[in-house]
């Protein structure tokens, strides 16, 4: 917060903290000056991303692996997200220790759950329009 006040743009937008924040909002709740720290963090993250500054790329890779499945199916596809993340991050052994338990308990569906009646396509269009608009406005989607 001090960095923002002092206008240290590079230092703030390149910091790791932006990417390691869990968005739990405890800081906003407890701030004695009533600053909505979580909202500031989120805004800074948006600013950094739009300028192509991503200090902890694996976190962003996980987000896009998730959103890719939503774009395709309209709903999250958990195994698909994991597979895409492993490919993107080259960390092919992420959480393989959990696979036996998760599969035995049928915690993860093998088949994606698709939004019916054209809903998946409608969601695809939302993401497409978002990307096109970002491009028009000259920012990284």
């Amino acid at each position: 917060m001090r960095g923002v006040q002092l206008g240290l743009k590079d230092q703030v937008l390149n910091s790791r903290s932006l990417w390691m924040c869990l968005s739990c909002s405890t800081c906003s709740l407890r701030c004695p000056n009533d600053i909505d720290v979580a909202a500031v963090m989120e805004t800074l993250r948006h600013m950094a991303r739009k300028e192509g500054r991503v200090t902890v790329p694996k976190v962003e890779k996980f987000w896009f692996s998730f959103l890719d499945t939503v774009r395709r199916f309209g709903r999250t596809y958990e195994i698909g997200t994991m597979a895409l993340y492993m490919l993107r991050s080259m960390r092919v052994f992420t959480d393989v220790d959990l696979a036996p338990a998760a599969l035995a308990k049928q915690k993860l569906g093998f088949k994606p759950h698709v939004t019916p009646n054209g809903g998946a396509e409608a969601v695809g269009r939302i993401l497409k329009r978002y990307e096109e608009r970002a491009k028009r406005e000259g920012v990284r989607p």
């Binding site: 869990l22 968005s23 739990c24 909505d36 993250r45 976190v59 999250t76 308990k105 049928q106 939004t115």
Partner: protein, 309 residues
């Protein structure tokens, strides 16, 4: 009472047991859940972390569908979906924001979008503790439970309207009505590490480990949760969490609806208890033994009374 129902994606996958038990409990309490047709993912953390308008567009498509069902209120079991839907609904009150979101949608959103609330608050708003107790046929009396809410149910406080954001007590009220002994759990609103279990495992393992360690030290029989991601971090990832804090745990982590369902006399399979990674069998056995003893003592007392008469 009828609500438009938004199950959320994990209901079809990792939290199928939450979905089964939520529907069972609402059925027993005669609370109607009308699923929104063709609902889509709310975008969860990835969408709002990337862009606020993208996140809102994904949420508003669902709220718009619910508006077309003439629903006044949408309910969802998942705190992350709840937070996103509530944020989106609130932000749509700003005309400039609304216009930017409408640009992303196939058709502009309905002027009046429904309110969103959690299934837990919906139950408490239309059923009293006495209504709940009236459905209990197998009281949880004798079971010591820690209620764990995580981050998003109560924060940000102004938007979520969930009572004291550092000390919510709604889950305790519902489970006490079912007879459970609720401990005063100090870490009830601490973060479990959320979705960082995948890209940054140590952070999630330490956070979850701390929560489990305090619960275990308080001698509880189970931790009750309301969030699919918290449940996954505390249950599926319990071994990773144990390693991070160097303690061995064998702590069942149940959805509050599973505990209510047990009290209502549902079969454990109907509530998806077989899907828990840390088995709830010891808890079920303890509960059965407690109720058997009670019945035996009652029968003895009756027999003694009969003898005296």
């Amino acid at each position: 009472m009828n609500f438009a129902y938004y199950p959320g994606c994990s209901a079809a996958g990792s939290s199928a047991d939450y979905e089964m038990s939520t529907r069972a409990v609402c059925r027993a309490l005669k609370i109607g859940l009308q699923e929104i047709p063709d609902w889509n993912c709310c975008g969860s953390t990835p969408a709002h972390a990337v862009d606020t308008e993208l996140s809102a567009a994904l949420c508003v498509r669902n709220l718009d569908l619910a508006a077309r069902m003439d629903a006044a209120t949408v309910v969802t079991p998942c705190p992350s979906c709840l937070s996103n839907l509530k944020h989106a609904g609130k932000r749509m009150e700003n005309p400039a924001f609304r216009a930017r979101v409408n640009e992303l949608l196939d058709n502009p959103a309905a002027e009046k979008l429904p309110e969103t609330t959690s299934v837990m608050q919906a139950i408490a708003s239309c059923r009293t503790a006495a209504d709940i107790a009236a459905n209990v046929c197998k009281p949880l009396k004798g079971l010591k439970i820690a209620a764990y809410y995580g981050c998003l149910m109560s924060r940000p406080a102004g938007l979520m309207q969930f009572g004291d954001p550092e000390n919510p007590t709604l889950m305790e009220s519902l489970l006490s009505a079912c007879g459970a002994e609720m401990v005063d759990f100090p870490l009830k609103t601490e973060c479990c590490g959320a979705s960082f279990g995948i890209p940054e495992r140590p952070m999630t393992a330490v956070n979850s480990g701390r929560i489990l360690e305090v619960a275990a030290n308080m001698g509880v029989d189970a931790v009750a949760v309301a969030c699919p991601l918290c449940q996954m971090n505390l249950d599926l990832r319990q071994k990773q969490a144990a390693k991070a804090v160097n303690v061995f745990f064998n702590m069942p982590v149940l959805y509050y609806t599973q505990l209510m369902g047990l009290a209502f006399g549902f079969d454990p399979r109907e509530l998806g208890l077989h899907k828990l990674c840390v088995s709830a069998d010891p808890l079920l056995q303890k509960l059965d033994a407690l109720r058997r003893e009670e019945a035996l003592a009652e029968a003895k007392a009756k027999a003694a009374e009969g003898g005296n008469a």
